[in-house]
């Protein structure tokens, strides 16, 4: 009887270990499957060892296996639920981070600013002189002519 309790305890411990590690593991299903295999192997070994001449023991073992399997199922469901909760939490967190990042990277006011400044920037590039001997030339204050012109004449002068 003590052996059966021991086996059940080992099975529960292994299942708990498998479930707890599965929460952090990206492949919890594989982990649970491996743990279940280990438990099943141990149970099979135990059953093989104690089958001879002890049918009561075998029946008790079978009950123990059922109990262990039920415990495993419960643990698996709990682990799955925990994993789902964890995934949902991670997804929610990721969405929040994404929202925060987009907010930090491009504040709405700064995004709208260049659009509003475009006409001013265009005006600052230059305007066409309307009269005089420079009529028709593009000018921006002290600069007259094409900004891409290959030759630049600079005059340093005083009006006096």
């Amino acid at each position: 009887m003590m052996l059966k309790l021991g086996l059940a305890l080992v099975a529960v411990v292994l299942l708990l270990a498998a479930c707890s590690s599965g929460a952090d593991d990206p492949q919890p299903a594989q982990e649970r499957s491996a743990a279940a295999t280990v438990v099943q192997d141990q149970q099979e070994q135990s059953a093989t060892s104690y089958t001879a001449g002890e049918s009561e023991s075998v029946q008790d073992d079978a009950e123990s296996q059922e109990s262990a399997q039920a415990a495993q199922t419960d643990q698996s469901e709990q682990a799955t639920a925990d994993a789902d909760d964890s995934a949902a939490a991670q997804q929610s967190e990721a969405q929040e981070q994404s929202t925060e990042a987009s907010t930090e990277d491009a504040p709405p006011a700064q995004q709208e600013q260049p659009v509003e400044d475009e006409p001013e920037q265009q005006a600052m590039v230059g305007q066409i002189i309307e009269s005089g001997h420079r009529a028709g030339l593009l000018a921006n204050r002290n600069i007259v002519g094409d900004l891409d012109a290959p030759i630049v004449i600079t005059e340093y002068a005083d009006f006096l």
Binding site: G136, L137, G145, A149, P150, I151, I153, Y156, A157, F159
Partner: protein, 134 residues
């Protein structure tokens, strides 16, 4: 003639203030900048190149003759709105060694003061650039 070169797209012309004569130089530069606020920088440039009236009232009268907003112009002039920009131009030019007036540079190299010689330099440089591109 320089304007004709500019018109071809071959040349860009820039004018840099040198303030070698104190307040009159400063007033001329400030008035020109205030005229530039209303799109008439070159009108004031030409005005001060040919007129020797460097008074506030004279500048305001010229602004009125151009049908500018004289109130805005006078406010700009009285507040010395563009003083820092004008002084920065003068300071940068002086630091670069171009405080003698007039000084002409063509693509950063020495340029002739006399118009015909300057045009000849520009044409030579243009031919040189065409050869390099060709």
């Amino acid at each position: 003639m320089i304007e004709e070169l500019v018109r071809t797209g071959l040349v860009r012309f820039e004018y840099i203030y040198i303030l070698n004569h104190g307040l009159p130089s400063e007033l001329g530069a400030l008035a020109t900048e205030c005229g530039g606020d209303q799109g008439h920088w070159w009108d004031f440039h030409d005005h001060f190149m040919t007129s020797w009236d460097f008074s506030r009232d004279g500048a305001v009268a010229f602004a009125a003759s151009l049908s500018l907003d004289t109130e805005q112009f006078a406010q700009c002039l009285d507040n010395q709105t563009h003083l820092e920009a004008v002084e920065n131009q003068h300071r940068a030019a002086a630091e670069a060694g171009f405080s003698r007036t007039p000084t002409v540079r063509i693509n950063g190299n020495g340029g002739a003061i006399v118009a015909d010689a300057l045009i000849e330099q520009v044409m030579e440089l243009a031919a040189q650039l065409q050869e390099e591109e060709g």
